[in-house]
């Protein structure tokens, strides 16, 4: 039985104990702001394992029963996307704030409906955007905010990851890998969309979109495995690309401004900053400096690998920001308008679907 600060902790319940729950639950199990009152999964073995591993008060096979039994303050919805709508709605109506994994819904209109419901219920509804809280994104934020990069003109997000190799494309399983109109690409798309909008400063406008969303592999389960799109917002443009046929795996973020360029990668992080003064005769010196920093990043990545500071290291930071805001009565670190803008851009990108 918890004591002391326990009375002030937020009661938290988790629906869905699969892969991504392993990124949420360690924070919830260790945070002084959260008290894990229940975990729920349709698989009894999965729910029991999560309860034991992360010290939840109880496990459940039915979400409604968990909500009634535990009366949580916050619910994390971590199930496959097609089940999000009903679970988010049920949780909000039960009086809980909701943190939902991306993509929250299959379309911007469904997202808007859920956000409207949250507003009616007087609760927060937050779609996860953990990459915004990664080390190098925070550093690039700093470079943008202090004007080092100048006006941001281009934001490129280039993801190379074989979507056919994972569960989405596993031909041993029946049915679609993910039930979204944009297939497996749409499962990753919110990451690219919110990062683009964040750095482009286009929080409320998806701008113009052109490009192609297609299935290059012929694997029907994956739905779509290739996106190559150009996005033009008010003052910023960018290329958003998801490729399944390129190696090595990488997830590159390049932010180009009127005074400089910042580049990083989410899988093997490094940070390269090239400024306008690093041109001409100074360019070789910048290259030497960048080489040194790249080597340091290599050692840092080795350390991070050993210490399990991986691609999801922004997740506990994001959750901590949310829980601190909830506990202090502050405002949400992820605004509803940002979530709607992300959904609108994802909608526009999914509309590029090709039947080829």
């Amino acid at each position: 039985m918890s004591v002391g600060v326990a009375d002030n902790r937020l009661k938290v319940a988790v629906v869905g104990c699969g892969g991504i729950a392993n990124e949420h639950l360690p924070y919830l199990a260790s945070s002084p702001l959260a008290h894990l009152v229940g975990v729920c999964d349709t698989s009894r073995a999965t729910a029991m394992f999560a309860q034991t591993r992360f010290g939840a008060d109880g496990f459940f096979l039915d979400a409604q029963e968990m909500l009634q039994s535990t009366q949580p303050d916050v619910v994390h919805v971590l199930t496959p996307p097609q089940s999000h709508g009903a679970l988010v709605s049920m949780s909000l109506k039960a009086g809980a704030h909701v943190i939902c994994e991306k993509p929250m819904t299959a379309s911007a209109s469904e997202t808007a409906e859920l956000l409207a419901l949250a507003k009616t219920c007087g609760k927060w509804l937050i779609e996860s955007r953990n990459l915004l809280f990664n080390d190098n994104v925070i550093k690039i934020n700093g470079l943008v905010e202090d004007g080092t990069l100048g006006e941001i003109r281009e934001v490129d997000l280039l993801l190379s990851l074989d979507l056919n190799a994972g569960p989405f494309g596993d031909l041993n399983l029946e049915g679609p890998g993910v039930q979204l109109p944009g297939g497996a690409v749409q499962d990753f798309l919110p990451h690219l969309a919110y990062l683009f909008l964040h750095f482009a400063g286009a929080a409320t406008s998806a701008g113009r979109v052109c490009g192609i969303l297609e299935n290059l592999s012929g694997n029907a389960r994956v739905g779509f495995d290739h996106l190559d799109a150009l996005v033009l917002s008010d003052n910023c443009r960018g290329r958003l690309r998801i490729s399944s046929d390129l190696k090595p795996d990488m997830f590159r973020l390049i932010v180009r401004g009127s005074k400089g360029i910042a580049e990083s990668d989410f899988y093997n992080p490094y940070l390269r900053v090239q400024l306008s003064e690093d041109s001409g005769k100074w360019a070789p010196f910048e290259q030497v400096r960048a080489g040194y920093r790249l080597a340091r990043s290599g050692f840092g990545n080795l350390r991070d690998k050993v210490l399990q500071h991986g691609t999801y290291h922004g997740m506990p930071r994001m959750l901590d920001a949310i829980y601190k805001a909830l506990a202090s009565g502050g405002s949400s670190p992820i605004a509803a308008s940002d979530i709607e803008a992300t959904a609108a851009l994802v909608d526009a990108l999914v509309a590029l679907r090709s039947t080829r």
Binding site: G19, A45, T46, F49, R53, L173, L307, Q308
Partner: protein, 332 residues
């Protein structure tokens, strides 16, 4: 007897299907949809069903069997992948089977469930050896195999179904040679860790024979059987046997267990003091995992021999020869 074999197209599964069919059983072989069974040479009394236990599918229409041999598992991948392929798959199977009408459930577990951090009585690992008390300190395979075994036992106990747990050692045979016992290779040098310790080997056909004997053996009160061959050679001897049989084995650099253990303990101390045990290291450096793999111990198969009436018929030299020939054929 009509016998369902899950994981039938796997390394051990193929041998179990062959052995069960040869013993006169009608075998229902459950294989994954992408498995190629055209060249397996299974006899006519083998009915092949395609399906994946991770999903409830049409495989559930073929469960009118007398007995189940459950081999399906996901031995690699991250914890989520192994959990889905090992634990959830087993849960789906148990939820779908008519457990109360089955004669027996034979579950294929693993030696990985034992606790190697405590020296067992007389240095011998047998069925009474304690189970791993800290599976999270080992690896995803140990965690999921322990959960799987416990799930099977609980469900069988709940329904009164007789359950036999088979824990094979390191299964070798054509297609799997454990790199001749090598821990690390550098060009033409093979590092053997704890080279004098016994390698808990069982030849794939020997292991399959033990499993098939468990179908109708009178096991009495025994429930768990360790399966290792009579001859558990040292890693060095196994390496030599592979080389003599024609394997491309390198020059041996023996690394004594005491040195490996000292390194593991030092790394463990540094991890504790400097990283508060957060560091996740390769098997070569993690003391608890080193113990599970290289600690010099002995292994007993007495219970399997006495109760199942099992005698491993393929001896080490023959098993290694078959393994190496197959590898050479594949390479050639």
């Amino acid at each position: 007897m009509r016998v369902l074999v899950t994981g039938a197209s796997g390394f051990l599964g193929k041998a179990v299907v062959r052995a069960a069919a040869a013993a006169g059983h009608r075998v229902v072989a459950l294989v994954r949809p992408t498995a190629d069974v055209s060249n397996l040479g299974w006899p006519d009394n083998v009915e092949v069903i395609k399906g994946d236990l991770r999903q409830m599918g049409a495989w559930r229409d073929h469960l009118d069997v007398d007995l189940v041999i459950h081999l399906a598992a996901a031995p690699s991948g991250d914890i989520a992948t192994q959990f889905a392929g090992t634990v959830q798959a087993t849960e789906n199977l148990l939820d779908s089977l008519p457990l109360r009408s089955l004669r027996r459930f034979i579950h294929i577990s693993s030696f990985s469930v034992y606790d190697y951090s405590i020296r067992p009585k007389h240095g011998i690992i047998d069925e009474a050896t304690a189970l791993e008390s800290q599976p999270q300190a080992r690896d995803a395979y140990t965690i999921t195999k322990m959960l799987q075994e416990s799930l099977v036992i609980d469900r069988c106990d709940d329904t009164g179904l007789e359950c036999v747990i088979i824990r094979p050692g390191a299964i070798y045979g054509p297609g799997k040679d454990w790199d001749c016992g090598t821990a690390l290779s550098f060009k033409s040098f093979d590092l053997l860790f704890g080279p004098l310790g016994a390698f808990r080997l069982t030849y794939v056909d020997n292991c399959a024979d033990a499993i098939v004997r468990a179908i109708d053996a009178d096991v009495g009160k025994a429930r768990v059987f360790n399966i290792v061959d009579d001859e558990c050679p040292s890693l060095w001897k196994y390496h030599n046997a592979c080389r003599r049989a024609g394997a491309r084995a390198g020059f041996v650099i023996p690394v004594p267990w005491l040195l490996i253990a000292a390194l593991g303990r030092m790394v463990r101390l540094v991890n504790r003091l400097a990283f508060r045990n957060r560091a996740k290291l390769p098997e070569l450096l993690e003391y608890r995992r080193q113990q599970a793999r290289w600690r010099p111990l002995r292994y007993s198969n007495a219970l399997a021999r006495n109760v199942l009436g099992w005698t491993p018929s393929v001896k080490l030299a023959e098993g290694v020869a078959r393994t190496v020939v197959k590898k050479a054929d594949s390479a050639g």
